[in-house]
Structure formats: C-alpha cells, structure tokens
Symmetry: C2
Subunit: 194 residues, 2 copies
Amino acid sequence: MPPPPRKERADAQRNREAVLAAAEELFGAHGDPERVSMDDIAVAAGVGKGTLFRRFGDRLGLVKALVERRTEQLRADVVAGPPPLGPGAPADARALALLDALLTLKLDTRPLMLALESAGRGSPYDNDTYELWHAELTALLTEARGERDAAFLAHALLAAVRSDLIEHLTTHGTSPDHIRAGVTALTRATLRRP
Amino acid sequence: MPPPPRKERADAQRNREAVLAAAEELFGAHGDPERVSMDDIAVAAGVGKGTLFRRFGDRLGLVKALVERRTEQLRADVVAGPPPLGPGAPADARALALLDALLTLKLDTRPLMLALESAGRGSPYDNDTYELWHAELTALLTEARGERDAAFLAHALLAAVRSDLIEHLTTHGTSPDHIRAGVTALTRATLRRP
DNA sequence: CGACTATACGGACCGCTAGTCCGCTTTCGC
DNA sequence: GCGAAAGCGGACTAGCGGTCCGTATAGTCG
C-alpha cells in the first residue's frame, strides 16, 4: 500500500478556488455559456491556462465541478433532509417537492445549467447528479404507481425541467409561475396509477 | 413587383443535391454528429467549402435542410393524412399516434436529429418543425383535457422523445419497445383530465 | 454560333477555440 | 535553510466554422 496521498498544496488550493469563483462569475454574467472561453476564465482567475486544465481536465470537468457545488445542498436535503423533500413524507409529495426544487434550481442558475447541458458529448445524462435525481425519482414513482415504466417516466419528468426548455419558455414570455404550474400538473398526472 | 426570381442554375442544383446526399451519408455513418466537420462534407460531396456555405448559410442551415427533408412525410400525414395520425380521429388517439411516430422517427434517424439538437445556439426549440409538433400537440391536449397547462404539457411530451434521451436509453440497454411503452404511458397519463 | 453577363465555384485564408507541453517557480518536510 | 516534489503559466498546436474573391461556367440574346 502506498502512503496516504499528501494533501493539496496551498497555492494549488488558492488557484482552484480562484478558478471556480471566476468561472461562476463569468457564466453568471453572460447569457450564453458558449461565449465564455476557457481563456477568459483563466484570465479572470489570474491563472495560466495550464493550471486551469491540469486541475479540471477539460471544459466539461470544470462545469461539472461548478454544478456539483451548486447542487450539494439540494442533494443533501433529498437524501437526508426534512420532509417533504427528505425521507418521511409520502412518495407523491416527495416527488412533487423534488421536481419543484429542481425547477427552482434551474431558474436560479440558468446559464450554469445550460453550460452543463451543452458541454461535451452526451453530457446531460453522463452525470452523477443526474443519476441521483433519476434514481430517487424512479424509486418514488415505483412507490406511487408501480414499477412499470417508472424508470422512463422519471427520465421524462427530468426532461421537462431541462435548462434549455426552461430558457426557451422564459425568453418567450412564459412566467416562472406558469412553468411551475405546468411542472406540477405533469408530475401529478405521472404519479397517478394508470 | 420585381419579376419572379430566375430559376436555379443546373450546376447549382446538382451541387445542392450532392451536398445533401453527402451530409446525410456522413451523419448517418458517424455516431457523433460533432465529429463531422463542414470540410468533411464538402470533400465528400466533391464541392468547395464556399459552395457549401453559400447554399446553406451555416452548419445549422444545412442540418435544418436535412431534417426538413426527413420530416416532410410525417408533417404531411399529421396535417392532412389518414387517421389516426391525421384529422378525423379523436384527440387522444391522435396524440398517441403522433408521439409514437415521432419516437419512430428519432429512432430511425438518431445521428441526424442529434445533430439538429446540438447545432448552433438554442436550436432545439428555434425550429419550424418543432413549432408545428408543438402547436398540433397543444391543440390535441386542449381538446382532450382542457386548455390549462396544455402548452407546457406539449413541451414536456416532446422533451420525452428528445434525441439525446433516446440515444442515452438505447446505448444503456433499454430496448426500443420499452421506450415505446414508456412514451405511451406518459402520453396517456398526460391526456387524462386532472 | 459566338459573345456577353449574371451566377456559381472552390480553396486559400482568417480568427478563435480547446487542449498540450515543458522550462521555471513555489511549497513544504526535514 | 535546502532539495525534491508539486505546481505554475503562457507560447504553441491542430482543427474548426465561416469569409472572400479571382476564376469558370451556364444561360441568353443577337
């Protein structure tokens, strides 16, 4: 067995935070995440491009790190928080709460989530966070309406809150409340026994 | 009024077809549409890059032209074909038929549809064809379950058959029949009155 | 049939991007 | 302090979408 990995060097840690902060800032400022280049981020963070890429591997890695940061709280709440989001509430109430929370998250961090969904190949689904939501929702749907089609329906519900759809709706005049009502209606319909 | 626009020159027409054929071929061959460059298409078509871009404007224009070609038949059937797809059948049957037909289309032309959804900015929704499906579905849902939330639910149903989701499912072992069953279940649930 | 013009052709060219590479600097255990 | 390991940074590369313009050709008209 090799000795335990040495801890991160101080300068490395500082730079990592600087990059994350700069990236969050830049993605937040520009509406279109594709217009934020890795160069821009490196410059804004006061760091060389080499540093940026060594730390995060590629563009997708950076975006994933940012998203993970932003979803940490929600992940914790879903797995072990208070009802209705956390365990303890009935399945249908939990599903409604989860979808609503996801919608809120997407509305609050539109450009970042858009960046995730449009970075790299097949990204929207190759993603630990997505896996978690999907597993959780599948379990809730199974409990509420039976196992049949539960996995697909969970995908479908998550597809209904995809960032680019939310983006499209909000930029075409649909109000957040309207979207919220729609998501709730869809979730209710999906939860009912066939 | 200016005189009617002169007709397309013969060489131009030949080249247009050559480009469309080459592009369809290349997108079909490669799994990942982003790995097919405009250069590749021009070379495969035996045509200069200038010709390619003059004709189609940009990458998105080319993909749109390709997709329009592929969806022509379905569009015609939905607007004026025989039931259950065309007018005449009850709204719920038409909605089920439409979703099923769309799923079949996506399964048959995966790489091409993937190319559409990942080409250019905000593309999946800025698209005449999408508008048509959405309008049609919204009308059917309104008829079946009332006006409330119909527009959003139509978006949600279409999101459930998005190419990248279909791609993800098929490459992770879900069979087409399984997906089909899921789409049907979702559509049925959505059609029911609240 | 030959000449003339609008139209189209093609590939060199440009600007920009993600990602690499390696000589130099910094950190930190001893 | 000191030396090796870890980290740094920015010049560099390859490849992309898209443009430009001198050249070639189709179609037309006398």
